[in-house]
């Protein structure tokens, strides 16, 4: 983000996941000036972490990296990464937005993404892109497909040994970089801040965090991806090639018994709704696992299989015919097998027989659901950006104008308004762009 950026935009898009990128691209293609604000070091959102995507099984990176480079390259789009929205105030029909760009300690204009610094850095930290299943360095590029592909230092972890500075040929490292405040003015705002994944520790019965071979589905997507953290598809407990994998669907969804589901207080102590994506991503992973580990048994424990979109039912039937085992039953508890094997015992009620059963698996995947990520509403200070009962951004005219929010000129796209898979997120982004463009047009005439 060069110093001399203009500070007037037709639209500010908050959140650079697939929905934010798609909205920004649509508006930019209509010749509107767009600022895309992303809190992480790269755009891409959850999608860039995925392996392949249902129902077409295209590689997620192949679909999303060209989109990312198109977004980054578009002459009408300015990217602002590692940036927080501090405040949005509506005055005289436009929005005054205060932003804070956190320092990455590496000069974006100079860094070539060569990763020399990363090789020499002695400090190993958790790699959040790989759901903490592996380490990366205190200085590193965010991930191999990041856009922009520029290193950053995790200052809290840095040892200040200056090894990185020594090897950096273009002299891009700047330990004294400071946060920067920026004020921009926008005609419209699009909220595309996406969703949070349910934290499986909040369902203690399933043993996540206690037993290393209980993982969540995002970790499994990472394990299957070509950019996987390990040399092969292995379980994190001891590097074994898994051969008997269980999926527990609806973990943290359709469940009114979870305390503190959304990380806030009593008001959100359960998550009654369905997450809409987890049945399908589990079926997808099962199909991919059948390909990667032809001898493995895969069992999916479910309540209802929600394969509702175009081609989805067919995709579900295909998984069945490939030999994926579907069992209707609610899993009550996961416990470790007492033989130090790292294997796990699942206790569940089998609906088909009405019996309580126990079975052994060597890897358990929790199909965690979608929770709102709407902290952004707090930054709208002089008008209230309302939430719905599930704490997603409220759609005030859900049937006829699904992108409208409680503030005129603020639109919502993607999962910020409720659970959605990628095709639905993209359509909702297109519709937000249409609403926003129609709105902006009023002012330009």
């Amino acid at each position: 983000m060069p110093e001399n950026i203009s500070n007037k935009y037709d639209a500010v898009v908050i959140g650079g996941g697939i929905a934010g990128q798609e909205t920004a691209l649509n508006l930019a293609d209509m010749d509107y000036k767009v600022l895309l604000v992303e809190k992480e070091l790269s755009i891409g959102g959850k999608m860039i972490q995925l392996s392949k995507v249902f129902p077409t099984l295209d590689c997620a990176a192949c679909i999303t990296t060209p989109k990312m480079s198109e977004t980054a390259r578009h002459p009408n789009i300015t990217l602002m990464l590692n940036t927080d929205v501090i405040e949005t105030v509506k005055t005289n029909g436009h929005f005054d937005i205060t932003l804070n760009i956190r320092p990455r300690y590496v000069d974006e204009a100079l860094c070539t993404g060569c990763q020399q610094c990363e090789w020499v850095c002695p400090k190993v930290v958790e790699d959040s892109y790989n759901s903490n299943m592996v380490g990366r360095k205190a200085i590193s590029i965010p991930f191999s497909l990041a856009n922009p592909k520029i290193a950053a230092i995790d200052m809290e972890q840095c040892l200040h040994c200056k090894k990185c500075e020594k090897v950096c040929v273009p002299k891009a490292i700047d330990y004294n970089m400071q946060p920067k405040r920026v004020n921009v003015e926008a005609t419209s705002v699009i909220v595309s801040t996406g969703f949070n994944l349910f934290k499986p520790k909040n369902k203690p019965q399933y043993g996540y965090g206690k037993y290393p071979n209980v993982i969540d589905a995002m970790q499994m997507d990472r394990l299957i991806a070509p950019t996987r953290p390990y040399n092969s598809l292995l379980r994190p407990g001891d590097g074994k090639v898994p051969d008997n994998i269980a999926y527990i669907l609806c973990t943290g969804s359709r469940d009114s018994s979870i305390e503190n589901a959304m990380g806030c207080s009593a008001e959100c102590s359960n998550n009654p709704i369905c997450s809409q994506i987890c049945c399908m991503y589990s079926i997808k992973q099962a199909q991919l696992l059948m390909g990667a580990l032809p001898l493995a048994d895969i069992t999916i424990y479910y309540m209802d299989i929600r394969a509702f979109g175009k081609g989805y039912e067919e995709f579900y039937q295909q998984a069945k015919s490939m030999g994926v085992n579907f069992i209707k039953g609610k899993v009550a508890k996961v416990t470790p097998k007492e033989d130090n094997s790292g294997n796990l015992i699942l206790r569940y009620e089998d609906v088909a027989t009405g019996k309580l059963k126990e079975v052994k698996h060597d890897l358990v995947v929790l199909s965690v659901g979608v929770l709102p990520n709407s902290g952004i509403v707090k930054t709208f200070t002089n008008q209230k950006l309302e939430l719905d009962d599930q704490r997603f951004i409220k759609q005030v005219d859900e049937l006829v104008s699904p992108s409208l929010t409680s503030i005129e000129g603020v639109f919502v796209a993607g999962t910020a308004a409720g659970p959605k898979d990628i095709p639905d997120s993209i359509l909702s982004a297109g519709s937000a762009a249409s609403e926003a463009a129609s709105y902006i047009k009023r002012f330009s005439n």
Partner: protein, 683 residues
């Protein structure tokens, strides 16, 4: 209009370029070649330094360089300077896939004043270093061949101009259901004229016929009235009802829609077409769950009407209704039948109807015979509410569907309940409601054949790609929205038609359109108009035209997508694709097959330092050093290492995998049981 400019090299501005003319193209004489390390992605396997030296000896190559990142700003600047200083007339970049950076390097060419089509991208990453990381020598040989092929191709490259066409800032929206009406509003607000063409006498489609709608509880008719009122206030929208689309001609930017409205025939000139023709309800067959055999078996639509029109008491055929059985998935999810798909909205619709019954009438018992309840997302709240109200849910499987019979004037249902270990239940109800799904409209073939929209295996209109081009069809300028593409609820239908409105506005907003010039062209001298090419063209881009007293093929450059299917069928070799001419392709093959003499990479260890992989473990976590010394002279599995070092196996996995990632250790095959990998130090 010419697809090509009258550039000196590419000779003529005639529409029918001949093969001979392509021979006359001056071969490029001053070529610059850039081979990318991609920060090790390529250079770790392909010996790019040696290749750049070898390539320097190729004919017509004046510059050959290996660069760390071809796409980086600094390299791009160098290229611009080279083009200017060395008067390059073509460039080749050997790096990653053209999907990623074609535009990047075309722009480099443009900035340097070179025609962007005098540039060729060679993929030595995805198609070479990554694919053959196990055989660096072979990868280098292959890269050599690919680059030589690219050089040969660029020698024959022609300077091309994009095809610019004027675009009507008007859109034809076919079907005035909620999707079409809603898209019309935004298309007009964004500055386009809209012709909203409706077959029926009234606008509003299925929503106008509906009562209370989920998830908001609004009334369907009110929603449509409100929207129609808005439409009437927008002068840029012209609504035609009782209108029939007779014929479509033209192409993107300039379609002509022939529409008859009552007795009047209209010709509408539009830049794009949005199809929002909606769906039909599945019609149960006679006898399907007792339909038409018993008076007490009706569809969900009939039932909804009944709820709407009944007051105080729910009465059907004079009988008070005290119990209702809903049978789900009627006409959907047929593993053996025609409709394999799920109709997406019917679970929610049926449960919503049941809730409406409870709200309006008291004491009606509801049985839901379902396969999976698909109240996805927030619609789950409907399901929870219905369960709370005491509705009974019974799960059946497709192979054992419920039976509906009339016995002693009673409608009796027999079903095996998979929720109570397949116990057979038999009970009678006052009314059976068939939860019927969505099917493509009976007249959808008419629309799809007039507009040439392909349909999928589900017989709904097909998008190009569900994620990349979800509202686009293979016909440029023709878009689809709402349920004609597949089952959707109201919100989803509106979202898809508005997404289409967005895309349409991006192409029409300027009044002109630019298309890539990579299209077919015909040799006017040799073409005999045998029609073979026209017969295989899926885009209907080839039409006959008279030229010099005979008929020949003519390519419509705005509809041709350059797929190339016409080339091989031509018996006289008279049609070819620009940028994929015989000269280019044949010379590429020659280049690739040329003998390659490569030296084995000298001291590859030394080279690894250049990609920074050789690291000393001083200052690194203690466990790294412990693992490294344990693996110093042997290979071990994670459990073995974990035992030897007394470290928990998950912690060990984490560190060992990090070391693997940073090139300190590497896998050395699976152990005997094929359960664990063994690891060794990377030398």
């Amino acid at each position: 209009m010419s697809p090509l400019n009258d550039d000196k090299d590419s000779i003529t501005s005639s529409f029918y370029l001949t093969k001979q003319t392509s021979f006359r193209i001056a071969m490029k004489q001053r070529i610059g070649v850039y081979i990318c390390h991609c920060g090790g992605n390529i250079s770790d396997y392909v010996d790019v330094e040696q290749l750049s030296k070898l390539i320097a000896n190729e004919d017509n190559v004046v510059i050959s360089k290996d660069v760390m990142f071809a796409c980086s700003d600094s390299t791009q600047k160098d290229m611009v300077q080279d083009i200017n200083d060395q008067k390059l007339d073509a460039i080749v970049v050997a790096s990653c896939t053209p999907k990623l950076h074609t535009h990047t390097f075309r722009n480099v060419a443009i900035r340097a004043g070179l025609n962007p089509y005098n540039y060729t991208q060679v993929n030595v990453r995805e198609q070479c270093s990554w694919a053959h990381s196990d055989k660096p020598m072979d990868a280098t040989i292959k890269a050599y061949g690919l680059i030589r092929a690219g050089i040969n191709r660029v020698k024959y490259s022609e300077a091309l101009e994009n095809i610019e066409i004027t675009a009507q800032k008007a859109v034809g929206v076919i079907g005035a259901g909620i999707s079409g009406m809603r898209a019309a509003v935004d298309l007009a607000r964004m500055g386009n004229h809209v012709y909203l063409i409706e077959k029926e006498a009234n606008v509003g489609g299925r929503v106008a016929e509906s009562g209370k709608l989920f998830m908001t509880g609004e009334n369907g008719k009110d929603v449509i009235d409100r929207l129609y009122k808005r439409i009437k206030e927008i002068p840029e929208i012209t609504v035609f009802t009782n209108a029939n689309l007779d014929k479509v001609s033209g192409s993107i930017g300039d379609f002509t829609l022939e529409v008859s409205v009552k007795d009047e025939a209209l010709k509408l000139n539009v830049g794009a077409v949005l199809v929002t023709t909606g769906f039909d309800f599945y019609q149960p067959k006679e006898g399907e769950y007792g339909y038409k055999l018993s008076d007490n078996v009706i569809t969900l639509q009939q039932f909804n009407k009944l709820i709407e029109t009944s007051n105080d008491k729910l009465v059907y055929n004079g009988n008070a209704i005290k119990s209702v059985a809903y049978i789900y998935c009627v006409g959907s999810r047929q593993s053996k039948g025609e409709n394999k798909y799920c109709s997406r909205q019917c679970c929610s619709a049926a449960i919503h109807s049941s809730l409406n019954v409870h709200e309006k009438f008291s004491g009606v018992k509801a049985f839901h015979l379902y396969r999976d309840i698909r109240t996805y997302g927030k619609q789950e709240l409907l399901y929870t509410e219905s369960s709370r109200k005491g509705d009974i849910y019974i799960k059946y499987e497709e192979k054992e569907p419920p039976a509906v019979e009339v016995k002693n004037n009673k409608t009796v249902i027999t079903v095996k309940d998979y929720l109570t270990y397949k116990k057979e239940l038999s009970f009678d109800v006052d009314l059976v409601v068939l939860v019927t799904g969505m099917v493509p409209r009976s007249d959808s073939n008419d629309i799809s054949s007039k507009l040439k929209i392909p349909t999928g295996s589900d017989r709904f209109f097909n998008e190009i790609h569900p994620k990349l081009k979800p509202v686009e069809t293979v016909i440029k300028g023709v878009y689809i929205g709402g349920t004609c593409q597949g089952p959707k609820n109201i919100t989803e239908s509106v979202q898809s038609s508005l997404a289409a409105a967005s895309k349409i506005n991006t192409i029409l907003r300027k009044g002109t359109l630019e298309l890539e010039p990579i299209v077919a062209r015909v040799n006017a001298e040799t073409c005999l108009w045998c029609e073979k090419c026209a017969a295989v063209c899926e885009y209907d881009a080839i039409k006959p035209i008279e030229s010099n007293g005979k008929m020949i093929a003519q390519v419509n450059t705005s509809t041709c997508v350059g797929c190339g299917i016409c080339g091989p069928v031509c018996p006289s070799n008279s049609i070819e694709i620009v940028q994929f001419t015989d000269n280019e392709i044949e010379s590429m093959i020659d280049g690739f097959m040329e003998k390659a003499e490569i030296n084995t990479k000298q001291d590859s260890q030394e080279n690894e330092i250049s990609s920074g992989k050789q690291i000393k473990l001083n200052g690194f976590p203690k466990i790294w050093r412990e693992i490294a010394s344990a693996l110093d002279d042997k290979t071990l599995t994670i459990p073995q290492l974990s035992e030897q070092l007394g470290v928990e196996s998950n912690v060990l996995t984490w560190h060992l995998m990090t070391m693997n990632r940073y090139g300190v250790v590497e896998p050395a095959g699976l152990d005997e049981d094929e359960a664990y990998y063994m690891y060794k130090l990377k030398k």
